[in-house]
Symmetry: C2
Subunit: 348 residues, 2 copies
């Protein structure tokens, strides 16, 4: 909006082919399986013997992101990460992505470069190749659609339907921080709109902002499973909140579940900002989403192998389906777990 | 807009998971390689030994289609076909698709079903499995993003960069019809907006409308190449018009080209409507696009094998790069071929 016109190259001057060529030239392939990348009708991939895993996710301006506080580079990074997270949730290694972009005229070449810088940074970070894509014009907002491809040995794959009664319920990292980061950004945006001179008060909450704007996929955990000699019985990534994801595992595995509020890993900054904003951090963890941590179940027999891992929290166990979905609060009261809130209807 | 409220199920009543489940239940898998479809973090595919081919294409309301004359079922069909066409252009067999949908509240469940009916019809027609996707809400128009995956033996793949000097330039089917179909729809829309009572005058031009609204990919040709014992040296599908696609082959293969106006296959209805609307059918063929026919080059030594194939037209030959891109009109005048028009600047 207030860009220096001298540093702005209109996309019209390049055209679609010019833009694709521009993107192509800045991409290098890292995976030996990426035989052909951008520039033909389709990319060519050799995934070797084993299984090819594929997932897709679309991000729309005004729905999934707000360009007033989401830097384009972060946005490109996040768009890749959310797809890689889905590949990881299959216990597969991400190898390639294709990227569709719908751009309106308000974007300059420099803006697209900034976005693609984030895409490429994520590709480098996760060892993934950008092998193709599609750019087109949009009459309204920015749309980013990414499809990720991964690879796994046949017996390595972990589905949502493998959990058994008594399996431990585990999560990686901590939950609710991305949601709190979003609340912080929303508050600052509101203050800014009311008083454009105001300085944002984001200090000290960098971790929460980063969790919202630049999340990471837990490829590191997938890689460690093998060295820990464990294989989860079911797994899903936490994009929509712990409650909703856990219920997916239960529905598909035909089990019930019981989780404990006191066991849910919550960062102290999530709790602190929760107090400041009057928001329950447990609600943020259960329903906030966008944490991109892994939720998995593990046979009770594997307890010893997992109990002292700093990156893993055991938050409960799977039960018989008749027992339903149970949430035990800090006062040991049992509530029914619901996809939105538990026993109170919480609008997030 | 004028829907019967009784036959309308609001998407809000289903939610995203309800919608995905609804779509999942209506999908059956046909390819043995489609090991897991919709319902986990990612689909699982066994592409066997060989090469996996992947392509993506996004269609946006108001940019790629107009819902006032594009029925949702046709739109779903076309969104799949344009991707399958890209897989075919690699000489690969399409096997799976994933589908991203961004929907606004003005769409009902019945509208999504109609759209998905088209998607599934194309999947059936081309033996492709819908193995996953993503649905999200849109604040403005409808967005459909499809990624298609295909399979080919290593030595079967045909790229854009394999053409040699003197190779024959061939196209399948006929060109320019989809563009003429679009002009017809635009004319009728204008008449309708000026006089809503007017009856559309589309009679007799069904073929042109079908080419625009419900195009087909030339998987049949890919399958015949083997029985004809030919392997093109380069290939591309015609989505942006013959001129632009041919120039892609030339640029990537480092050749020039010479094509003859009189050899370009044009259906008589394309010519007829061209006369009626004052549009040159050759311009429509060169620059109209959306024909989804195949453009390929073939060694001169293969001439006998291809010369009498009804589905194939030989329209010229590749030349030395210094010779440039040449277009010979019916009066034997030589023009420089340009991506938009040849020696006159034609805005389409």
């Amino acid at each position: 909006m207030f860009e220096n016109k001298n540093n702005r190259t209109e996309l019209e001057t390049l055209g679609e082919f010019g833009l694709i060529n521009h993107i192509k030239q800045s991409v290098t392939l890292q995976n030996p399986g990426s035989l052909r990348g951008i520039g033909d009708d389709a990319a060519v991939i050799d995934n070797g013997p084993g299984r090819t895993v594929v997932t897709t996710d679309m991000l729309l301006e005004g729905v999934h992101f707000d360009l007033t506080y989401s830097p384009l580079k972060h946005l490109g990074y996040k768009a890749v990460v959310v797809n890689i997270s889905d590949i990881c949730a299959m216990n597969a290694i991400p190898t390639q992505i294709v990227c569709g972009l719908a751009l309106s005229n308000r974007f300059s070449l420099e803006a697209v470069e900034e976005l693609m810088l984030g895409v490429k940074l994520a590709c480098e970070r996760y060892g993934v190749d950008l092998v193709g894509g599609d750019t087109c014009s949009s009459k309204s907002g920015l749309v980013i659609s990414i499809t990720a491809i991964g690879h796994a040995k046949e017996d390595a794959l972990i589905y949502r339907d493998g959990a058994k009664e008594n399996d431990l319920i585990c999560v990686t990292g901590d939950l609710g921080a991305a949601y709190m980061g979003l609340q912080l950004l929303n508050r600052e945006k509101k203050i800014f709109l009311e008083n454009p001179g105001a300085q944002p008060e984001l200090k000290g909450y960098d971790y929460l902002l980063e969790r919202q704007l630049k999340p990471e996929a837990r490829l590191d955990i997938i890689q460690r499973f093998e060295t820990w000699f464990i294989k989860p019985s079911s797994m899903i990534d936490i994009s929509d909140g712990l409650a909703s994801e856990l219920m997916h595992l239960c529905t598909q595995s035909k089990t019930g579940c019981q989780i404990y509020e006191e066991k849910i890993p919550i960062d102290h900054l999530t709790s602190e900002l929760g107090r400041e904003l009057g928001l329950d951090p447990t609600v943020a963890a259960l329903n906030g989403g966008e944490d991109y941590e892994l939720l998995f179940t593990l046979s009770l027999a594997e307890y010893e192998k997992i109990k002292d891992r700093a990156a893993i929290s055991i938050i409960g166990h799977m039960t018989a389906p008749e027992a339903g979905y149970r949430f035990v609060d800090r006062q040991q009261n049992v509530h029914e777990l619901k996809a939105q809130g538990w026993d109170v209807d919480v609008e997030l």
